[in-house]
C-alpha cells in the first residue's frame, strides 16, 4: 500500500472512531434503533468516497464526523426530535447577535423583577466586596513588589536561642559581621537597626523631630536601590564614628525641604551636630519603616568587633543577597557551620545561640501569615455562601419562570439557547454584584486602613490595584457561572408540557425543584453557622482581652517623647536637672496631678533583655530573659502602679548604691519562696569584677509589656537617676481629659528649652488600643463576615419558605375551606422547611467543632470548642431561621380560601 493509501486508511479509521463515539453518546432508544445501521452506512459511504478520490474522501469524512457529533449533541440536549431541524443547510444566528439578544433579554428580565435583582446583587456585592477587601490586604503582603531589586535572592538571617525562647530574634552585630565574612553563599550582607532613633533637627531655630535608621554602608547596594539624587552610603562610613553623611527619604526631602535639589552637600543641624546630606532615595524606598526620615551610617568604632557587648547585644537586623547561583539551602548549610564555629569560639555569648535564614518577604510577613490565612479562608466561605444563596434564589425564581421557559420552548426556542440565556442573566447579575462589591471593598479597605495601617511596614500598602481588580473580576465571573449553572441546566430540562400544566395551577406535587433549593438552604445554614461560630469565638476572646487589667491606669493619663540634645545637655547632671525641672513645672500646672519618666511605655513592646545572676547563687543557677526598663518614682505613681513590697526609688538613690525595682512576675519566677528584697543581682551569666551589682529594693505590680493578650514577663526597673538617658517618655496623670493637657505640656517644654520638640503626645488609652489593634481588626472582619453570613442565611430561608407558601396557596385555600385553623397552617408551613435547617445546623456544628481549632492561635481565654459560644450561635441561627420562615408562613395563613380557589 502506498503512502496515500495509508493516509486514506487512517482518515477512514479516525472518522469511524468519531462516528462510533458520537453514536455511543446518543440516547439509548436512538442507538438501539439506528446505531448499527448508521455506522454501516457511514462505512460504505466512506468506501465509496475513497474510490472517488482524495477530495471526496476528505469531504465525506469531515461531513460525517461533524454531522454525527452534531446529531449526538442535539439528541443529548433535547429528546424531543420533532423540534430538531435536520436541514443540511442549517443556518446559525451570528454569535454576536445572539449575545446581544441574550443581554437585552437579561436586562429586561432584571428590570421586570427588581426585588430579586436587588437581593442577588446585594448578596453578591457583600461576598465579592469581602473578597476584594481581603484580597487587597493579602495582595499587600504576598504579591505587591518589595522595594528591592530581585527580592528572590534576598534573605534575612535571624538568631535563635532555645534557652531564651528566641525564634527569630535580632542579631548581635559581631555575629552578623562574621556571617558576612564566612558564608560564601552570601554575595554581601547588610545590617540595619530595627528601630529608628529620633533626632532633633533645628531649621531656622525651630526644632523638628526626625526618625533616623542606622545602617551599614552597603545597605542600599545589597537592597539593590540607587539614590534618586546624589549617592548612597559607603562601607567605610560604617566604621567612622564621626561620619556625618546621611541619606534622606523622598518624603522628608519633599515635606521638610520642599524638594530642594540643592540639598546635596548641605549641612543639617541635628541639635549641634552637623550632618551632611549626600543623597536622596527614590519615593518607593522607605525600608525598614514608613517613618524613616533618613539613613545614617552605623558609625561604629573599628575596634567594636572585638568587644563583648558587640556580640552580646542583639539589636540589628540583616539583609543578605545570595551569591549568583547559590541556593538558600547552600546558604543555610554554610550558615550552620559558621554558627557552630562561633559557638565554640565565643561560649560566653554564643553557647546556645543559633541562626536561621528565610526569604525577606517571609520574614516581613511572619506575624500576619496566620491571621491572613484565617481571614482568607473565612472570606472564601462567605463567597461560597453568597453564591449558594444566589443559586438558591435563582432556582426559586427559575421554577417560578418555568412557565415562561415552557412557552418559549413550545414556540421553538431550543434548550441550548434557553440555558445560555439564563447563564447570561446570571453573569450580568454577577457583574453588577461584582461592581457593587468592588465599591464596598474600596470602602472596607479605607476603613481598615484608618483603623490600622496594614501592609509590610514601609514596604507595601493596601490598594485596590490591577491585581485586585482582576481577582474581583475573576471571582465575579466564576460566581456568575457557579450560581448560573444549576438554574441553566434546570431551566433547559424543564418539560414544557408539565410546566405549562403546572404553571397555571400551583401544584404541590412538583417537589423536585423544591428539594434542591431546600438542600442548598441547608448548606447555607451550615456555612453560616461556621462563620458565625468563628465570629462568636473571636468576639468572646476580644471581650476577654479587653477585660485584662493592663496593670496601669489607661484613663486620664498621657505620654510624650522628649530628647535632651547632647549639645546642650552633655553631662548627667544637665540631663537630670532638665528632667527634674520638667517634672516640677508640669506638676505645678493646674489639672496635672503627677508626672514621671519611663524609657519605654508599657504595652509598647520591650526594649532589651538579658540574663542575670543573684549574689550567692550557685554556678549553675542563672536567670534567663529578664526585661529591662528605666524609670523614676513618678512613673509608678502617675500610672497608679501599686507598690507591693519594699520601696520605690528615692531622691537619695541618685548618688547612692545601684538599686532596682522588680515586678511581681520577676519575684515569682526567679525568687519563688525567697525574699527578693535586698537581693543583689548582676546582668551577667558569670559576673566578674567589672559587673555592676544592683540591689532589689521594691516589688511593684505587673504591667503587660506587649499586649493584654500576652502574658507578663519578668521585668526589672532601673533607676533613671542612676542609669540615665537623654531620651525618655514622660507620663502625665491629669485631673480631667488628658488631651486638654497637651497645650500646657507644649508651653512648659517650650519655656524650659524652645529647641526641644515633644513627639507623639498621646493618651495611654490610645497606646492600649493600638496594642490590641490586630485583634480588633480580626474581630471586625470576622464579625462582619459572621453578620453578613447570618443575613444571607436569613434571606435564603425566607426565599425558599416564601416560594413554598406561594406554591401552596391553592392547597392552603382548600385546607382552610375544609376547616383547617390558621395555627395548623402556620405549624405546617414552619415544620415543612425546618427539617433542612436543623440538618444544616447539625452539619455546621460538626464543621465548626472540626475547624475552629485553626483559630486557636487567635483566641484568648476561650477554647476553640467553647460550648457557650457554639451553643449560642446554634440558638441564634435557629432563631433567625425561625423568624425568616415565620414571615412568609404567617402571610400564607392570611390567605382568603375563596380567593385562592377562584384564582385557578
Amino acid at each position: 500500500m502506498n503512502s496515500l493509501g495509508w493516509i486514506a486508511g487512517a482518515i477512514i479509521w479516525g472518522t469511524g472512531v468519531i462516528v462510533r463515539f458520537a453514536v455511543a453518546l446518543c440516547p439509548a432508544d436512538f442507538r438501539a434503533e439506528y446505531g448499527d445501521d448508521l455506522v454501516r452506512t457511514h462505512r460504505e459511504l466512506m468506501d465509496s468516497a475513497r474510490r472517488q478520490g482524495g477530495v471526496a474522501l476528505m469531504r465525506t469524512a469531515l461531513r460525517d464526523a461533524s454531522g454525527a457529533l452534531w446529531v449526538a449533541t442535539r439528541l443529548r440536549l433535547g429528546r424531543d426530535v420533532s423540534s430538531v431541524s435536520t436541514s443540511t443547510f442549517y443556518r446559525r444566528t451570528p454569535m454576536f447577535d445572539t449575545l446581544w439578544q441574550d443581554s437585552r433579554f437579561a436586562f429586561r428580565g432584571i428590570a421586570r423583577n427588581p426585588g430579586f435583582a436587588a437581593t442577588v446583587i446585594t448578596v453578591l456585592a457583600l461576598g465579592i466586596g469581602g473578597v476584594s477587601a481581603i484580597f487587597s490586604v493579602v495582595n499587600a503582603y504576598l504579591f505587591r513588589p518589595l522595594p528591592f531589586a530581585d527580592e528572590h535572592s534576598l534573605v534575612t538571617i535571624y538568631e535563635t536561642n532555645p534557652e531564651f525562647g528566641w525564634d527569630d530574634a535580632s542579631a548581635a552585630p559581631a555575629n552578623a559581621l562574621d556571617w558576612r565574612d564566612q558564608v560564601d553563599a552570601f554575595d554581601d550582607l547588610a545590617i540595619y537597626s530595627e528601630f529608628a532613633n529620633e533626632a532633633t533637627l533645628i531649621i531656622d531655630g525651630e526644632p523638628t523631630l526626625l526618625a533616623g535608621g542606622g545602617v551599614t554602608g552597603n545597605f542600599f547596594e545589597v537592597a539593590g536601590v540607587r539614590a534618586a539624587l546624589g549617592r548612597a552610603l559607603r562601607w567605610d562610613e560604617t566604621w567612622a564614628p564621626n561620619a556625618t553623611s546621611i541619606v534622606l527619604s523622598d518624603r522628608t526631602w519633599r515635606t521638610t525641604f520642599g524638594a530642594d535639589p540643592s540639598i546635596l552637600g548641605r549641612g543639617l543641624d541635628f541639635s549641634g551636630r552637623i550632618m551632611t546630606v549626600v543623597g536622596v532615595m527614590p519615593p518607593t524606598f522607605n525600608f525598614p519603616s514608613n517613618e524613616t526620615d533618613y539613613w545614617a551610617p552605623m558609625g561604629w568604632e573599628p575596634t567594636a568587633r572585638q568587644e563583648v557587648w558587640f556580640r552580646r547585644a542583639h539589636f540589628v537586623r540583616t539583609l543578605a543577597r545570595l551569591a549568583p547561583g547559590a541556593t538558600q539551602q547552600e546558604a543555610s548549610a554554610q550558615l550552620a557551620v559558621v554558627v557552630r564555629r562561633l559557638q565554640a569560639e565565643y561560649p560566653g555569648t554564643n553557647k546556645v545561640m543559633g541562626a536561621g535564614l528565610m526569604p525577606v518577604r517571609d520574614f516581613l510577613i511572619r506575624d500576619v501569615r496566620k491571621p491572613l490565612l484565617i481571614l482568607g479562608a473565612a472570606v472564601s466561605l462567605l463567597l461560597i455562601l453568597a453564591c449558594t444563596n444566589v443559586a438558591t434564589l435563582t432556582l426559586v425564581r427559575a421554577s417560578e419562570r418555568a412557565r415562561e421557559v415552557a412557552v418559549r420552548t413550545a414556540v421553538g426556542a431550543n434548550r441550548m439557547r434557553i440555558a445560555r440565556q439564563m447563564m447570561t442573566e446570571a453573569l450580568l447579575l454577577a457583574c453588577l454584584g461584582g461592581t457593587a462589591g468592588l465599591g464596598l471593598g474600596w470602602f472596607a479597605v479605607k476603613a481598615i486602613e484608618r483603623l490600622n495601617p496594614l501592609g509590610i511596614p514601609g514596604v507595601t500598602s493596601i490598594a485596590l490595584d490591577g491585581r485586585v481588580l482582576f481577582a474581583t473580576l475573576a471571582v465575579a465571573t466564576l460566581s456568575g457561572i457557579l450560581f448560573g449553572l444549576g438554574p441553566a441546566l434546570n431551566g433547559a430540562n424543564t418539560a414544557p408540557a408539565r410546566s405549562l400544566k403546572e404553571g397555571g395551577r400551583a401544584d404541590t406535587r412538583s417537589r423536585g425543584g423544591m428539594q434542591s433549593t431546600q438542600w442548598l438552604v441547608g448548606g447555607e445554614v451550615a456555612l453560616a453557622l461556621l462563620l458565625v461560630a468563628g465570629a462568636g469565638l473571636v468576639l468572646r476572646s476580644f471581650g476577654h482581652i479587653r477585660d485584662v487589667d493592663p496593670g496601669f491606669h489607661v484613663e486620664n493619663t498621657l505620654a510624650f517623647d522628649v530628647t535632651a540634645p547632647t549639645s546642650r545637655y552633655s553631662e548627667r547632671e544637665d540631663v537630670l536637672a532638665f528632667w527634674d525641672q520638667l517634672t516640677e513645672q508640669l506638676e505645678a500646672r493646674p489639672g496635672i496631678e503627677r508626672v514621671g519618666t519611663v524609657g519605654r511605655l508599657p504595652l509598647d513592646g520591650t526594649s532589651w533583655s538579658s540574663q542575670f545572676k543573684a549574689e550567692g547563687w550557685p554556678e549553675d543557677r542563672v536567670g534567663i530573659e529578664i526585661l529591662h526598663r528605666r524609670s523614676d518614682r513618678g512613673y509608678f505613681e502617675a500610672l497608679g502602679i501599686p507598690l507591693v513590697r519594699g520601696r520605690l526609688f528615692e531622691s537619695a538613690d541618685r548618688d547612692g548604691p545601684l538599686v532596682v525595682v522588680i515586678n511581681e512576675q520577676f519575684a515569682a519566677e526567679h525568687f519563688p519562696g525567697e525574699e527578693p528584697l535586698g537581693q543583689r543581682i548582676a546582668y551577667d551569666r558569670e559576673p566578674d569584677d567589672e559587673s555592676s551589682w544592683y540591689e532589689i529594693v521594691g516589688v511593684v505590680g505587673d504591667q503587660h509589656q506587649i499586649s493584654p493578650a500576652q502574658s507578663v514577663r519578668a521585668e526589672v526597673f532601673e533607676n533613671r537617676d542612676q542609669d540615665w538617658s537623654r531620651q525618655t517618655n514622660v507620663v502625665v496623670r491629669t485631673a480631667g481629659d488628658p488631651s486638654a493637657a497637651i497645650p500646657i505640656i507644649r508651653s512648659v517644654v517650650a519655656e524650659l528649652d524652645p529647641l526641644i520638640p515633644i513627639a507623639e503626645p498621646r493618651p495611654l488609652r490610645r497606646v492600649w488600643r493600638s496594642s490590641i489593634a490586630q485583634e480588633e481588626l480580626i474581630l471586625m472582619l470576622l464579625g462582619g463576615f459572621g453578620l453578613i453570613a447570618l443575613l444571607i442565611a436569613a434571606v435564603g430561608v425566607y426565599g425558599v419558605t416564601a416560594r413554598a407558601a406561594r406554591r401552596r396557596t391553592h392547597e392552603i385555600g382548600i385546607r382552610m375551606a375544609l376547616g383547617a385553623q390558621r395555627r395548623d397552617i402556620l405549624t405546617m408551613m414552619l415544620t415543612q422547611g425546618f427539617g433542612v435547617v436543623v440538618l444544616g445546623l447539625v452539619v455546621g456544628l460538626g464543621l465548626a467543632l472540626a475547624s475552629t481549632r485553626a483559630l486557636s492561635s487567635l483566641l484568648f481565654g476561650v477554647t476553640p470548642n467553647d460550648p457557650l459560644t457554639l451553643g449560642s450561635v446554634v440558638v441564634l441561627l435557629a432563631a433567625v431561621a425561625m423568624v425568616a420562615s415565620y414571615l412568609p408562613a404567617f402571610r400564607s395563613t392570611r390567605v382568603d380560601p375563596l380567593k385562592s380557589l377562584r384564582s385557578d
Binding site: 445501521d37 448508521l38 452506512t41 452534531w70 446529531v71 420533532s82 435536520t86
Partner: protein, 135 residues
C-alpha cells in the same frame, strides 16, 4: 391568505424557516428516494448523490436523525428487506407510507407551481439546475 401547503396532522411546523417553504430539503429528498422502492440508508444517500451531486448529500448522522423524525411523524415506516439477491437482510429498509406519499405529492405540486412561475418569468432560460426542492 390561504396557506400554500396543507399541514398533515402530526407534522411539526414549529420552525419558521419551514412554514413558508414547505418540507425541508432533506425530508423531500428522502420521500422522493422512497417513492418507488424500499431502500436502506446507504441507498437513499446514493440516490441523493446521483440526483444532486456530492454536495447534496447530508451527513450520515443527519440522515438517520431525519429518518427517525419522519418515522415518528408517520411519513415513512420500517420495511422487511426486498426479496432480491442484492438485498442485505441485516439492513434496515424503509418504505413511504400513504401519508408520506400525500405529503410528497402536495409538496411536489407546490414546487411545480413555483417552478412554472419561475419559467414564466424567464428565470429558467437554461436547462434546470440539478438542485431540487429548495429555491
Amino acid at each position: 391568505m390561504r396557506p400554500l401547503f396543507h399541514v398533515p396532522p402530526g407534522l411539526s411546523m414549529s420552525k419558521s424557516r419551514r412554514s413558508s417553504q414547505g418540507l425541508t430539503g432533506l425530508t423531500y429528498q428522502i420521500l422522493l428516494a422512497l417513492a418507488e422502492i424500499k431502500q436502506h440508508g446507504y441507498g437513499i444517500l446514493k440516490e441523493m448523490e446521483e440526483r444532486g451531486g456530492p454536495s447534496a448529500v447530508p451527513s450520515t448522522g443527519a440522515l438517520y436523525l431525519a429518518l427517525q423524525r419522519m418515522e415518528s411523524q408517520g411519513l415513512i415506516a420500517g420495511a422487511p428487506a426486498p426479496e432480491s439477491p442484492a438485498a442485505d437482510a441485516r439492513r434496515r429498509y424503509y418504505r413511504i407510507t400513504e401519508q408520506g406519499r400525500d405529503v410528497a405529492s402536495e409538496e411536489s405540486r407546490r414546487l411545480a407551481v413555483l417552478v412554472s412561475t419561475a419559467r414564466d418569468r424567464a428565470l429558467l432560460g437554461e436547462p434546470l439546475a440539478p438542485k431540487h426542492g429548495k429555491a
